[in-house]
Each structure stands twice: as C-alpha cells, then as structure tokens.
C-alpha cells in the first residue's frame, strides 16, 4: 500500500504544482489579491504531498519491500540501514524524487521567509517555482516512476552500487541537489522581476541571501564529492574534470559570478540586466547538468542507466525553461536600463572583470565538456577531452581572477584612484612575493608553477590583511577591538571566503609540486620509506563485512622510531554486484596526508601497495570549508535578518547610512 500512497501523492503534487503555476501568476497579472494569496497554501500543499511521496519511498527501502522495482534494483536485505536510506537517491528515479523534494524545501522556505515581500512578488516567485516543479514531477511520473511494482517480487534486491556505500555518499547528493535546486530561487526571483518589471536594488537585496544559501550548499556538495573521490577511488586524486563533476562546477562558477554581481546591483544599482542573466544562467546550468548526467549523451564514470526517452524529455524541459526565460529576458531586459554610472577604474569595473573571468572560465569548462558531443554531432568522430585541456585552459584564467580578488575589495565604488590603490597595495605585493619565495624555499623546491601558485595564495592573504587593517586600525578614538566588533558580517564573510580561496590554492600548489607517489611490492615485514616515514607491511587478512568480503592490509607507520599510525587499507568484493572496491587508508594531518591502498596480490603472499605522501592536501577542502563559512557569514548579515517592511526601504542601499556605507567605504 505504501508505494501506491506515494505514487498517488505525486500525482496530487502535480495537480498542486499546476494550480500554483497558474492561479497566483494570473492573480498578479490581473491584480486579484484573492488569487495571489493562494500562492502560500498551494506551495504548502505541494510540499506536503511531495514529502509524503518521499517518505513513502524511504519507508519502502527501510522495510526491504523488494516488490518495488526501484528498491529491488538499489537495495538488499543485508544492506545496513543508513545505506538503505541513502539508497533512496542511489539511482535515477529516486534522485529525481530527491530533486523535487529539495525544490519543495526551498519553496517552503521562500513561502515562510518572504513575509516582508509585496504580495504580487511572492505570488510570481512561487508560481515560477511551481512551473519548475510541474516539469520535474511530469518527468518523474512519465519516464521515471520510482514506485513501479515488480511481479513477482524477487527474494532479495540487487544491492546498492558499492561505490555509493560510503558515509560521504550518504550526504553528498542531498547537499549537491540543495545547491542545484537552490539556484531555482534566484531564477524565480529573476523571472518574477522580469515579468513584474521591478528590477531594482531592492530585488537584488532580496535575492542575495537566497543565492548565497544555494551557493553554500553547492560548495559543500562539490567539496564532499571531491573528498569522496579522494578516499574511495583509491588513486589519491581529488578532481578529475569528469563531465559530471563539470556539471556541478559550471553552476558553481556562474553562481559565484552571480553572488558578486548581486552585490553591485544591490549597492550601486548597476549591472542589472547582467545580474538577471547570471541568475538565469546559474539555474540553466543546473538543468543542463541534470540533462548531461541523465541522458547519457556523454560517457562518464558516474553514468546512470540511460534511456533516450528521458533524455528527450529533459531536453524538451530544458528548452522550455531556458528558452522561455531567455525570450522573456530579450523582451524585458532592454527596458531595465543600465543603472548607476561608474568610472573606468572603480570597484564596479573590477567586479565586472571578476564576472567576465568567471563566466569565461565557465564557458571553457562547458566547451571542454561538450566538445566531444559537438564534434560527434558534426560528424568528425569521437574524441575525448581530458585533464590536459582543462589544466592548460582553466589555470591561466584563474590567475587574473586572483589578481582582481586582491585589488577589488580595496577599490572605491564609482571611482577609484590608481595612485592611491597602488600605494595601498604595493606592500601587499612585496610581502606576497617574499612570502611566496620563502615558502617555496621552505618546501624545498622552487619551480615556476609552484611559485606562481604560492604567489597567488600569498597575494590574496596580503591584500586581505591590508584591507582588514584599513578597517580595524585605531581611528577617531576607537580601538582595534571596538572597530573589529563593528565589522559587518558581510564584509567578514567576504574576507573569510577569499581567505578560503588562498588556502585552496596553497593546498593545490603544494600537492602538485611536492606529492610523492610510490607503488611497491611488499611482503610481510617489508618496509619502504617516504619523506622520513617508514611504512612496514604487517600482512593481509581476510575479513567479512555485512555485505562484502574484504582483504584487509595492515601497515605500520613510524617516524624516527616513534609510531605514527596503524593503517588498514581494504580491498572489498561486494557479494551481490561482484565488483572490486578499493578502500584506502588515510592518516590525516595538518601538513600532510599519508595514503595507503592495496593494489594487486602477487605470488608468495606479497601485495602491490600504493603509498602516497600528500602534503597539504586537506587544505584543498579546508579552503572550500572557509569559502562556505564566508558565504554563511555573508548570508546572515544584519541587513538580511532585520526585515524592514519593503516599502520603507529606499531603492539604493547607499542611501542607508550604517548599513550600506559602513561595509564598503574603506577609509
């Protein structure tokens, strides 16, 4: 009964979504309050029905109901409970249901936290999100029903893909989807504003915290995915430029551009049509990512079972959503106007430069991802674009971006003076150069690539320090502490996020230049030494997991005679799906990871063992966590928490002393 209840709830949800898409929008168009006020109850109804469907599917998994086809394909009675729950999004159908559920979470949040918005605006926003929900509910119901029954029911299920049986995988997809879907809010705000014609800084101010929230989730999702790849795929890499990774990275780049562009639109009223375009772009890329993953047009490590009907449906959906929003854009955006004027050298220009660089980087990733498809479609045959392309194209694009990142926050709005800027930054630059060379020397190897990488990291740190000092140095009798306490969270968030970028670059550079990878044949008692760490192989024993058999190695690590760690890498064979899985053992440290994984067994009980020394690799994810924290600080800035009535706020934040000006007027 439970699956039927879930299926019925989904149809009911479709009806709700259709009503939500039509009635409030029509109400906003004709100025009827009674229709518009229906937006919130309808959104709530949609949330509840989708919630019931989601819980039904989860219940089927928990109860091992293998008469449900999807459960039988993605679960097994020997699967531990947490992975049975994660199994809900372990396959295509359930992932879609998770997508819709996340959309409803965002919709519920918008309905709940939009009391200060004018009714027509809320009605339009929820309607637009309703239409997105219609598309995905139709997709689920027509092509990918997760509640389909299987007669006769099999005795047991085919088990969850072993790669997904991992704590990281339990939370990675929900976070990633929260991010993907979260951009639908910015999208809905943009489309609603285009329809209503009220594109002003007020709009940017409303959109900003939502965009930041989505961006934060996407950052967490991508970070988790990268970390998961590092410790489960067994070869120590952390990013592979795989189409599916790119699919999540492109919306992130567009979202990052959007976050910055919204700041300009909010503070200065400039870049309006550009900001709207970015909002549309970020969500379009999320949809495109879904298309690329689900349709099987690109081959990827992550490929889901593909079905041409699904591909066609989602392409049609993509065309309708993106096509109609871009048509609306082409029609309405010319009337939006340019907004406030600014000089050639100003923070606006620098932020525009940042936006252009981010969008170009995004386009480069898009091109690299789609290039095999384009050539194939044009009849030039099949090719694969690998990391060499992305490394050579992407990294040079990041260098000017990082340079701007140092200058931008110090430049004045509207008009900045070159001599003044140069004066303030010359010390930062000198410090960065010295620090880069010094840290390269300390690391023991100075190469061009490493120096450039370190220089970029230190440049960010030094310019951040310059900016921070400018903001908190004692002035007008206020002490450092007093001025620091006055720092708005948005400014603090920006600094923390930028520091995250520096930490990230630092980690990437040092891993790339200093890592040591060694593959050795080891019998019991054999040792190998890397960077002063002595790895002793203590043997391998067989062991039984709940649904797998494993060979578990034991490697003792000592340094200068002192024991550092016992490491237990595993090689698992999952009983149902029969594919081998490598579980690396990692000993994490602040300045280095020790990474051991089992290769092949060779004659005489010896094994090929991969021993890696990865300096500063955790800084990569640490940097991402800082970016996320920065986003969190910015999203919880005072001016988003205090909900002044919409009508009372003047259109430009610069007219609000103490809120708008304090943050960016560096003395």
């Amino acid at each position: 009964m439970i699956p039927e209840l879930g299926h019925f709830a989904l149809w009911l949800a479709l009806a709700m979504a259709l009503l939500l898409g039509v009635v409030p929008l029509a109400g906003a168009l004709r100025g009827r309050d009674d229709w518009m006020t229906l937006a919130r109850p309808l959104a709530a109804g949609l949330c509840i029905t989708v919630g019931i469907a989601f819980i039904s599917l989860t219940a089927s998994f928990v109860r091992n109901d293998f008469s449900v086809l999807y459960v039988a394909s993605n679960s097994n009675s020997a699967l531990p409970l947490q992975y049975r729950i994660a199994g809900v999004w372990g396959g295509h159908e359930g992932s879609l249901l998770l997508w819709v559920t996340m959309l409803c979470v965002w919709m519920g949040a918008v309905a709940r936290f939009s009391r200060h918005l004018p009714l027509p605006v809320v009605a339009r926003i929820l309607s637009v999100m309703g239409w997105v929900a219609v598309g995905f509910l139709l997709f689920t119901l027509i092509t990918s029903n997760p509640f389909e029954r299987l007669f006769p029911a099999p005795a047991d299920g085919r088990d969850l893909n072993p790669l997904l049986q991992d704590p990281g995988m339990v939370i990675h997809p929900p976070m990633l989807y929260m991010g993907y879907v979260g951009f639908s809010v910015a999208f809905a705000f943009a489309v609603a504003a285009l329809i209503g014609g009220n594109l002003d800084s007020q709009w940017a101010r409303w959109t900003r915290p939502w965009t930041l929230a989505a961006w934060i989730f996407l950052t967490i999702g991508i970070t988790l995915g990268s970390w998961w790849a590092y410790y489960t795929l067994g070869w120590g890499g952390w990013w592979f430029w795989d189409p599916v990774e790119n699919a999540s990275f492109m919306p992130w780049l567009a979202g990052t551009a959007l976050v910055h562009s919204l700041a300009v639109t909010e503070k200065r009223g400039a870049f309006k049509s550009w900001t709207v375009l970015l909002a549309i772009l970020a969500f379009s890329l999320s949809l495109l990512g879904t298309f690329l993953v689900r349709s099987g047009v690109l081959s990827s490590v992550h490929a889901f079972a593909t079905d041409p009907r699904r591909g066609l449906f989602i392409l049609a959906f993509l065309v309708i959503v993106v096509g109609s929003s871009l048509t609306l854009y082409a029609w309405r955006a010319p009337r939006v106007g340019l907004g406030a004027r600014f000089a050639l050298l100003s923070r606006e220009t620098l932020l525009l430069g940042n936006n252009v660089m981010l969008v170009v980087a995004m386009a480069a990733v898009l091109l690299g991802t789609l290039y095999p498809l384009l050539l194939d479609a044009l009849g030039f045959g099949k090719i694969s674009v690998g990391p060499p392309y992305f490394d050579t194209v992407f990294v040079p694009l990041m260098a000017p971006l990082v340079f701007l990142m140092g200058v931008g926050p110090l430049a004045r709005w509207k008009q900045a003076e070159l001599p003044e800027l140069a004066l303030r930054l010359r010390w930062a630059f000198a410090v960065a150069v010295v620090a880069a060379l010094a840290s390269g020397w300390l690391a023991g190897r100075i190469t061009l690539v490493a120096t450039v990488g370190l220089l970029m990291a230190w440049w960010i740190v030094a310019s951040l320090a310059t900016e921070l000092w400018g903001r908190i140095k004692p002035r007008d009798g206020a002490s450092v502490g007093a001025r620091a306490a006055l720092l708005p969270r948005a400014a603090l968030g920006m600094m923390v996020a930028h520091l995250g970028v520096a930490v990230f670059i630092f980690g990437v550079t040092l891993v790339k230049t200093l890592e040591v990878e060694r593959d050795v044949k080891m019998g019991t008692g054999d040792t190998t030494t890397i960077e002063g760490y002595v790895f002793t192989f203590r043997g391998v024993r067989e062991l039984d997991g709940p649904n797998y058999r494993a060979a578990r190695g034991w490697i003792e690590v000592t340094q200068g005679g002192r024991k550092v760690a016992d490491m237990f890498p595993e090689k698992r064979i999952y009983r149902v799906q029969r594919n081998p899985m490598t579980n690396a053992a990692i000993q994490t440290g602040l300045t280095r990871d020790l990474y051991v994984s089992l290769g092949e067994s060779v004659e005489g009980g010896a094994w090929i063992v991969r021993v890696y020394y990865k300096p500063f690799i955790d800084w990569i994810w640490g940097g991402c966590v800082l970016m996320m924290l920065g986003g969190l600080l910015a999203a919880t800035d005072r001016r988003y928490r205090s909900r002044a009535p919409a009508t009372a706020a003047p259109p430009l934040a610069t007219a609000m002393p103490g809120i708008g000006t304090l943050e960016h007027e560096a003395p």
Partner: protein, 176 residues
C-alpha cells in the same frame, strides 16, 4: 537595434539545444566499426617493457586474443582496469595491450601502479597502429580470432556486463 544584443543569449542557447538534441541520437559508447569481421590490420610494434622485441600480427595467428587499447593519460582506463586485471587472472584468453600515444616511462609506471593484466603491451607511440585499427578514443577493446579476424569491438570502458554477456560467450564459441 540596440536591444538586439539581449537576444544573443537566446540565440546561443538555441544553437546549444540543437547540438544537445543531435547528441541524443548518438551513443558515445557505441560506434559501428567497419572493421568487424574483417582481417585485423597488419602491425609490427615493439613491446612496452622491451624495445628490442617486436610483436607482429603473424605472431598472434592461431589463438583467440584480446587487444585492449590503453594509455596512462586516460581516466576511463582506470575505471575498467581493475576489471581487466580480474579478467586476465582467469586466463580464459591472452590479453594484449596497445599502449596508445603514450610515453614509455609513463606507461610502465602506470602498469606497475595499477596492475598488469597484459601478456605484453605493444608500444604505439605515434598512434599509427591505433589509426589503422580505427581507434576513436581510449579505452577500446578488440576480440580477434585464430585467423586474425576482428570479431568484436568495445568502444569505451569494459563493464562487467559486457565481459560476461558478450565477450566471454564470444570467446568460448571462437575457441570451440
């Protein structure tokens, strides 16, 4: 005329959508090979581990064998490699590698790192033999029979299903 620039995103998206639509009709993993059931093209290449020894098509006549095209720069190869290693251990059929457009040292390092399922790897530095074999991308796998005729070609990584359902039965029937 000024407002025309706002149409640019729409136009760009239209072009993209056309390509995506065309892409739907194509399967990235399946390309019909004109070489199926044709004699395998001639080759004579040095072994990866021993530049002094060469292997040619004639040496392979009389046995059913697998030719797996791989490279150390190929990410998808890492995906299929554990599978190939397991498969080679069962000794159903000799597996030969074609190390395609690679650097000798990199190729050798890669094999010692990921395991070596191959009887031998042919070192195709310039990719000339690969071109003769119509290699679109790496990895690819050919099944070649006793008479040196190509009987099957897998484009993209091998999967457990392909090995179990297509390659193994084919090998058994060819060896019978």
């Amino acid at each position: 005329m000024k407002s025309l620039k706002f149409l640019i995103p729409l136009v760009l998206f239209g072009v993209l959508a056309l390509f995506l639509g065309a892409g739907l009709k194509l399967d990235p993993r399946e390309v019909p090979s004109p070489l199926i059931d044709k004699p395998a093209p001639d080759f004579k290449l040095a072994r990866l581990d021993d530049p002094a020894t060469t292997i040619s098509r004639e040496d392979m006549l009389g046995k059913v064998w697998l030719l797996n095209v791989w490279a150390s720069w190929c990410v998808a190869c890492r995906e299929e490699h554990p599978l190939l290693v397991e498969f080679a251990k069962r000794k159903l059929v000799p597996v030969y590698g074609l190390n395609y457009k690679d650097v000798r040292a990199d190729g050798k390092a890669w094999l010692s790192q990921h395991g070596n399922p191959y009887e031998a790897s042919l070192f195709d530095e310039k990719g000339k033999v690969g071109i003769d074999y119509g290699v679109y991308g790496v990895p690819e796998t050919f099944v070649i029979d006793r008479k040196g005729v190509i009987r099957y070609k897998q484009i993209g990584p091998l999967t457990p299903e392909v090995l179990r359902d297509r390659i193994e039965p084919l090998i058994k029937s060819l060896q019978a």
